[in-house]
Symmetry: C2
Subunit: 140 residues, 2 copies
DNA sequence: GTCAATTTGACAATCATTCTCATCGCGGCT
DNA sequence: AGCCGCGATGAGAATGATTGTCAAATTGAC
């Protein structure tokens, strides 16, 4: 049996390493909760690693597509990004007050979602699951 | 034991009944899947019950706050509205192709969400759960 | 180094949603 | 039925996040 053909699924050409991309990734690594593109842009400017706003948006999109960062939408519809610890599929529990984020593993929901979807005759089931709450430190 | 005090939680003054509000509700009743404010506005114009776009937005917001309609965000961030059958808390399974929607009851997730949140020391746990898939009629 | 292909960034353009404010009409009262 | 106060309406302007444009700057392979 020969080796598998070269690269059946190269998908994207692998992005170039630029100062800007490195700065965005570094900033994300330094933060611990979800941030918007605008906030990241500001953060970078403060650090002195200034990057154009459009570039911040493009970089975050690329990182998201490459599954390097997670994305979620706040209640105002803005996209928030975060570099998570685990790269596998997971969910989040976010403090609606301070933004503190906990990565959640949900074998229970995973199974539930697949089961319910199948029961209705749907295929390629995908799901959106996010948890919001007030963390211990933010109690009144 | 006396009757409970008059109205401890009147909240909102109850909106006035206007031709516009009635038209929006009627249109929603006639539809079966989630629609955006813009789509509703167009639908109304087609029906001849033309209503100003701003009014459509305001009415949908009010209906949503009154829990008369359900809201969810599509992947582009637009708000979609739907008049659901059950008024109690529930979730949805939406066909990503044709929009066909099924109301889902999820005692399993409800419990899971509360449990996970508490385990992390969070309180007032709230959750976002939506399922997406391809319905039987939309298979290739 | 050289050079083609990418990437960047200042700025314009989109586009859903919200705001403004003069006008309209619902509904409680007589 | 007529009166009236105030919420509701709508045309258009304003907002604000995100995307598009395109010339100039960089990257990475040879
Ligand atoms: Zn907190
Ligand atoms: Zn999951
Ligand atoms: Zn379908
Ligand atoms: Zn639920």
């Amino acid at each position: 049996m020969n080796a598998a053909p070269p690269l059946p699924v190269p998908a994207q050409p692998a992005p170039r390493m630029t100062r800007q991309r490195a700065a965005v990734v570094e900033a994300l690594d330094g933060l611990d909760d979800f941030r918007s593109a605008q906030q990241l842009h500001e953060e970078l400017r403060t650090r002195g690693d200034s990057v154009g706003l459009a570039t911040v948006y493009r970089t975050l999109q690329a990182l998201a597509e490459a599954r390097e960062v997670d994305v979620l939408r706040n209640d105002e519809g803005e996209s928030l990004y975060r570099r998570c610890t685990r790269r596998e599929h997971h969910h989040h529990l976010v403090c609606r007050v301070c933004g503190r984020t906990v990565e959640i593993d949900g074998p229970t929901v995973e199974a539930w979602a697949a089961k319910v979807g199948a029961a209705q005759g749907f295929s390629d089931i995908d799901h959106t699951v996010e948890l919001w709450g007030t963390c211990a430190d933010c109690r009144a």
